[in-house]
């Protein structure tokens, strides 16, 4: 049958010559190419021990930022969740109580903030929508897990460490 679109290409199959029929030249040629690659630069890296250099505009895991005084910037306005095309973000807001001023910047804060990393497509729209400069996709590749529930990242994984926490961590390492 003739193709209607005219874009079909029919492969012509000629009978093989003697050299092609014995296969050995082709096999040795292929082995030669494989052997040559042993002396070339490796294209793979030993992830996660080694990491490739990321591009400047790489978008990885989200982090919820703190301001210069270590207060959480997020005010649970919900614009990231609204802009999210994959419906990956959800949150519950709460009112800041007296005595919590050093923890949260605004009078409202996100008590629960969850991102489903399986839904997230890392488009960066949440980062763009955020009026408080609270969320950035500046982290590494999201690590793999065995269970689906472990991909729902809460505030414990998303909020960046405060300066005191960072110093404490350094102290442990030193």
């Amino acid at each position: 049958m003739e193709s209607l679109s005219g874009r079909k290409k029919v492969l012509e199959q000629k009978p093989m010559t003697f050299m092609e029929r014995i296969y050995l030249p082709a096999i040795f040629k292929g082995m030669g190419i494989t052997f040559m690659h042993m002396f070339k630069k490796k294209e793979t890296t030993y992830y996660p021990e080694q990491e490739r250099e990321f591009s400047e505009n790489w978008r990885g895991m989200h982090s919820l930022k703190r301001d210069e005084n270590g207060k959480e910037r997020c005010t649970a306005c919900g614009l990231c969740a609204l802009s999210c095309p994959a419906e990956a973000i959800t949150m519950t807001s709460a009112e800041r109580q007296k005595g919590e001023e050093h923890l949260y910047r605004e009078e409202k804060y996100a008590a629960v903030y969850e991102i489903n990393m399986l839904r997230c497509i890392f488009c960066g729209l949440c980062e763009e929508a955020c009026p408080k400069e609270a969320i950035y996709l500046d982290g590494p590749i999201v690590p793999s897990e065995f269970l689906r529930k472990d991909f729902i990242y809460g505030k414990d994984k998303l909020v960046e460490l405060s300066i005191t926490d960072l110093e404490a961590q350094k102290g442990v390492l030193a």
Partner: protein, 333 residues
Amino acid sequence: MSDKIKVTIDGIPVEVSPGTTILNAARQIGGDIVPPAMCYYSKLEGSGGKCRTCLVKVSKGSDKDPRPMPKLIASCRTTVMDGMEVQNITSPEVVEARKGVVEMLLINHPLDCPVCDQAGECHLQDLAFDHGSQATRYEFDRRTFDKIDIGDKIQLHMTRCILCYRCVFVADQITNTRLHGILNRGDHSEISTYISKAVDNDFSGNVIDVCPVGALTDKTFRFKNRVWFTKPVEAHRNCPTCTGKVTLWYKGNEVLRVTGRKDTYGEVADFICNTCRFDKKATSDWVIEGPTKVARTSVINSNHYDTLQPLPVIKKNLVLMAANKVEFEKAVK
């Protein structure tokens, strides 16, 4: 009853009865030519004339005296004359003046929309988005107040108030005694109750509905959810004190908030009582009528772009313009 008189607003003629204000005449036409209003509220007697957002230009006073009015006038307070010609969005002067009004209104209004519960249904937000400029020229600190509780269900956040006086008119209208008013003058003006006394009237909750900004908010809804994540549903119940016609704001199966039914101009049809507003928050309390119609431009209908922004390459190329004709026609509201 005298005859109807004819006025022209932005070139559209309309016949209205004498004594109608320009704003209401424009509302009879509807559409884009209706001047925005922050303080005028058709259900409240005496409201209007304070915010100056409804400024229009009268290019012809009337048939008898065709001289234009010397200055821009507040359309909510000016009644129509026979043969009057009004310019609203067709006059660059009005557009420019409205931009100035928005800037003035925002001088003391905090830009805490991410925190504010009114965001998404805030008239000032819409107004600033449609008519305002992106930046402010004001360099000084905005005035701030502590939050005040008016009763146990209403919170007054005076910092956000734009002094439209609507809530004062509600308080005046629903009660015989004066309970709620404005203290001090000028820049120091402040909405307050008499010696911080609670407004304990059955209809006091309506100050929440009439407030165009987030100054008076429902404490039972405080920080519960964002307006655009909740689904409005019309419902009614047999209420002994009010008409019982309300809008329920659902999140999942839960009623987060009950408000009066608002029309296109954000004005409630009927004032509802506090029992309906604050206490009846179960679906079983209500007879559901159906989903509320939400304007296409509302943030509740987010992510739908109403104007097509063609790429520069399409604008130059006539063939591409013709090919995208259907899409261009869709963009027309």
